[in-house]
Each structure stands twice: as structure tokens, then as C-alpha cells.
């Protein structure tokens, strides 16, 4: 068997080994490759910067579990920092079981109290609301009927001043949703945007991006934060470099690996084809 044949029938395990090396190396020995800033990062930044006004009420929704954290956590932290700089009230909630767990991890990175926000007055955490899209629709009609108690203190919603002015979807100005799947943006759109016209911006994992493009083009989603690279760019725009910037070197090397393997694979493919002729 010639070398080219071998490359054509490359053992998967060699590819796997290469993938390990190409990711671990830049993490252990950072390369510091430069990061250009894309239009996605700019439009997200400018939406939060210009369209979130003082006095607005925002839903901050973490719709992912620990498995989605590598890609979504950095942008969640960065956006939270951005929101906290403004005079807005925010409601934390999610329709994803592990959402509250992720939010607790987020609190270890940013503390609303540092920005002078008081729990129950400026923000509230309603935790995980089970029931997927159905529950999402129910929440839009009434917060008070859908959620019995808050997540942090376990007290009824009526005991928090912030909830006096938050009753239905019409009291919400913007949804910021970070998500890995279903329920996610399509459900939010159906239950909140189509039905009540609430604006929504979505941070999602790369795999969901192609599915989101129609919604972006039709204007149903106001801004989209797609994946880790753009999070790193956003961190740079915010001038708060964080977790995403650290991981981007490995993004570069791993993508380089794939391109190399594909190129070599095609060269081998055509060379063996020539030989057979």
C-alpha cells in the first residue's frame, strides 16, 4: 500500500490523536495570535450599547447546561458586565434544567452588587422553569401564575418590589437568550416575539447559527452572537478580555488542522485516482 493509499484510508485514531495535540499545545503554550473584529461582534455590542435604555426591563436567560459552557459562558459573562453598566432591571430565568447552576458559576465571575444592584429591587433570579415551550407561553401570560417562588430566597414573588411592575410579557423590553438548543430562539420567537412583539437578542453555539440566519434576516432576532470567536471579539470591544480570548488560539490551531487534513486528503485522493488511470 502506497503512502497515498494509507492517507486515503487514514485510521480515525490518528486523526483523533492529532486533534488532541493541536488543542492541548496552544493551551499549554499560548501563541497570542491576533484577533480581527467582525461585524457580528460590532452589531451585538452596538445593540446592547444603544438599544438598551435606562429604565428598561430585560430578561437574562441562560438556556444551556455545563456542556454548553465552553462556548456560551464567556459571552454570558461579558454581556452581563455590559448590562450591569446600565440602569436597567433584569430578570434571570431559564427553561433549561441546568441554567441556575450555570448562573451561579456566572455570579462567581461577576457580582451585581459590585455595580450597586440590589437583589429583589434591581434584579431577581427565578431559576429554572420546567415545561419547555408550553411553560414559555404560560410565562408570557403571567409571571405570577407560572413561578411560585424566586430561586435564591424561596419567597413568593409578591414579596419583591421588582415584580410589582413585571406581570406579563408586555412589561419586558428585551430578552437576552444564550442557548444550545430547544427550547431556544424559535420558541422565544413564537411565544414572545410573534405573540407580544418583545425584542430578542440571541447568543448561540455555532451549530445553531445557520438555523438562526433566517430569523436575523427577517428581523425577528435583533442581534446574534455566534460562538466563541465572536465572544472574544466582543470582549475586546468591551475592553474586558476574558475567557474567550484565552481559548481562541486553540480555535485557530484546530481549524488549521482540519484544513490541512482536508487538503492532504484531497491531494491523496487525486493522486491515487491518477495512478489508477
Amino acid at each position: 500500500m502506497s503512502i497515498m493509499d494509507k492517507i486515503n484510508n487514514l485510521d480515525r485514531r490518528i486523526i483523533y490523536l492529532l486533534a488532541w495535540i493541536f488543542v492541548l499545545y496552544p493551551l499549554i503554550f499560548p501563541l497570542g495570535l491576533p484577533i480581527p473584529i467582525s461585524s457580528d461582534a460590532r452589531s451585538w455590542y452596538s445593540y446592547v450599547e444603544n438599544n438598551v435604555n435606562d429604565g428598561d426591563t430585560v430578561i437574562f436567560s441562560l438556556m444551556y447546561g455545563t456542556s454548553g459552557m465552553p462556548e456560551l459562558f464567556p459571552m454570558s459573562v461579558a454581556t452581563m458586565k455590559h448590562i450591569l453598566q446600565k440602569d436597567v432591571k433584569f430578570v434571570v430565568l431559564g427553561f433549561w434544567t441546568e441554567g441556575p447552576l450555570v448562573f451561579n458559576a456566572l455570579l462567581r465571575q461577576v457580582n451585581p452588587a459590585d455595580y450597586g444592584k440590589v437583589y429583589g429591587v434591581d434584579w431577581i433570579n427565578l431559576g429554572y422553569i420546567p415545561g419547555g415551550e408550553t411553560a414559555m407561553g404560560a410565562l408570557a401570560t403571567s409571571f405570577q401564575n407560572s413561578v411560585a417562588v424566586d430561586f435564591v430566597e424561596g419567597r413568593p414573588l409578591s414579596s419583591f418590589p421588582i415584580m410589582d411592575n413585571i406581570r406579563t410579557a408586555t412589561d419586558i423590553d428585551l430578552i437576552i437568550s444564550f442557548e444550545t438548543g430547544t427550547p431556544g430562539a424559535p420558541e422565544w420567537l413564537r411565544q414572545w416575539n410573534t405573540a407580544y412583539g418583545v425584542n430578542i437578542i440571541v447568543g448561540c453555539i455555532g451549530v445553531s447559527v445557520p438555523g438562526m440566519i433566517p430569523y436575523i434576516n427577517s428581523g425577528q432576532i435583533s442581534a446574534l452572537m455566534p460562538g466563541l470567536t465572536v465572544s472574544a471579539e466582543y470582549e475586546l470591544l468591551l475592553q474586558k478580555p476574558g475567557l474567550a480570548v484565552a481559548g481562541v488560539d486553540a480555535v485557530s490551531t484546530s481549524h488549521l488542522l482540519i484544513v490541512l487534513l482536508v487538503v492532504i486528503g484531497n491531494v491523496a485522493f487525486f493522486m491515487t485516482k491518477e495512478e489508477k488511470k
Binding site: 430547544t182 420558541e187 445557520p210
Partner: protein, 261 residues
């Protein structure tokens, strides 16, 4: 119009129009008029894959996706997957292939089990059905897929048929299937997952093809006829889009106003 909700009227008209055209063709089929349908290679290949598994003495894996039945977009895909399961089970029982159905949702398990068990009973082989045929793995997405992968690596199925709603596990399962050399027929309407099924499987049903799979497999006149109704909706959608865009290009918002009704 206080009775009808503003902004949803045109949607209702579209819905009723499509439903009516589907129903019309079904009714027509009852009178014996059945339209001709084009073949879908992936669906035709199901028999081949089961036959291949039998020859190799290996089991057939058949999964109907990981969604529930009550999700607005994924639920119908589960139903479509169950229709395919029904046919695959029937074939497997007929040719004596061992079938394994991994299930993720507790609420879907009883139906899947019922479908397979019924096929065994109908063929008079009730004693061959065992609880191993339809296995509940885990309602956790990756708990399900890790176990599915493990089962595939151990049992080395000759065919792996997956039709339904899948998310990230699509590639985990189909790449493992390809690794062990199973013949794979896959299908989903989850737009983000179609690419992975497409590159890793032998045949891939794209989008709406999965909904019609049941009709093709049973070859039931009424089910087939309903596809004609679907085609009417298709032409309707194309015309609406093109005409609307032409009118819009000329600076008229007629169609947009219509949609906002």
C-alpha cells in the same frame, strides 16, 4: 375583528387552505384516484439495509429521534420516526433480524414498545420479543447518546436507521455507525443536523421527506394521496413568495398588509 385575533388571520387562512387540500386529496383517494409519486432512494434502501444485516448475522438498530411527542416542531418528527419504526419492525420480524430500538423519552417508550411487540405478535412470534428490543436508555440527551454509542460498538449492527428529530447526538451516532461499518439510513427535519447525517450516512432523508416516509413505506393509498395536498401547499408557498416579491419590488405593500392581517 374582535373575534379573530389581529395578525393571525392570514396564518389561519393558510393553515385551513393547506389542511383542506390535504384532506381533499385523501378523500379523492377513497374514490380510487391515487397520484403517482416519485421514488425516494433512502426509503427504498431500508429493505436492502435490513437484508444486509440479516446476511451478516447482525442486529438492526432503529431509532425515532430524541424528541417528545408534544414539541411543536420536533413532535411531528417523532411521529414520522415511529411510522418508519413500524415498517422496520415489520420487516425485521419477517426476515428474522434482531431489532434494537433505543428510546430517550419515557412518554414515547410505551408506543415504541407497543409497535415492536405488536409486529412480533402479528407474525405469531410473540415469544421472540424481549425487553431488550425496545430499551429506554436515559432522558438525558448525552446519557442517551453515550449508551447508544456503547451499544453500537458492542453489538455492531448491520443497519442503523435513524429517522426523527435529532440534535447534537446526530453526528455522534452516525459517525459511530460509520465507524463500525453499519449501513445507515437517516433523516431529520432539524435543519442544523441535516449536514451531519448527509455526510456520514448512506442515505439521508432531508426535511419533509421524513414526514412522507410513513406514506411511502405503507404504500397506503390515502397516505400517498395526502402528499399531493402537500404539493398544493408547496406551489401556494412559491407563488406567494414570488408574486409578493414582484409586487414589493414595484413598491407596493399589498402582500405585506395581507400577511399582517
Amino acid at each position: 375583528m374582535a373575534f379573530l385575533i389581529q395578525g393571525r388571520i392570514f396564518g389561519l387562512i393558510c393553515l385551513l387552505f393547506i389542511m383542506a387540500s390535504v384532506a381533499y386529496y385523501i378523500k379523492r383517494a377513497q374514490g380510487g384516484k391515487v397520484p403517482k409519486v416519485r421514488r425516494i432512494p433512502g426509503i427504498d434502501a431500508i429493505d436492502e439495509s435490513i437484508g444486509r444485516a440479516v446476511e451478516m448475522g447482525r442486529p438492526v438498530f432503529c431509532s425515532h429521534g430524541i424528541a417528545t411527542l408534544r414539541d411543536s416542531t420536533a413532535g411531528p418528527q417523532t411521529i414520522a420516526g415511529l411510522s418508519v419504526l413500524n415498517y422496520v419492525a415489520k420487516r425485521c420480524v419477517a426476515v428474522g433480524a434482531r431489532i434494537v430500538v433505543p428510546v430517550r423519552q419515557p412518554e414515547v417508550w410505551p408506543i415504541a414498545a407497543d409497535i415492536v411487540e405488536t409486529e412480533y405478535k402479528l407474525a405469531g412470534k410473540a415469544e421472540e420479543y424481549s425487553s431488550e428490543c425496545v430499551q429506554f436508555l436515559s432522558s438525558d440527551q448525552f446519557g442517551f447518546s453515550s449508551n447508544y454509542i456503547g451499544l453500537m460498538m458492542r453489538e455492531k449492527p448491520g443497519a442503523n436507521i435513524m429517522v426523527g428529530a435529532y440534535w447534537a447526538e446526530s453526528l455522534q451516532l452516525s459517525e459511530t455507525g460509520s465507524r463500525i461499518g453499519a449501513m445507515q439510513i437517516t433523516g431529520t427535519a432539524q435543519t442544523s443536523q441535516i449536514p451531519f447525517f448527509l455526510v456520514t450516512s448512506d442515505y439521508c432523508l432531508i426535511g419533509e421527506e421524513i414526514f412522507s416516509a410513513g406514506a411511502y413505506l405503507t404504500n397506503d393509498a390515502m397516505l400517498i394521496a395526502s402528499l399531493a395536498g402537500q404539493d398544493v401547499g408547496r406551489i401556494f408557498a412559491v407563488l406567494l413568495g414570488l408574486l409578493g416579491a414582484i409586487v414589493f419590488t414595484m413598491g407596493n405593500r399589498l402582500f405585506l398588509d395581507l400577511f399582517a392581517m
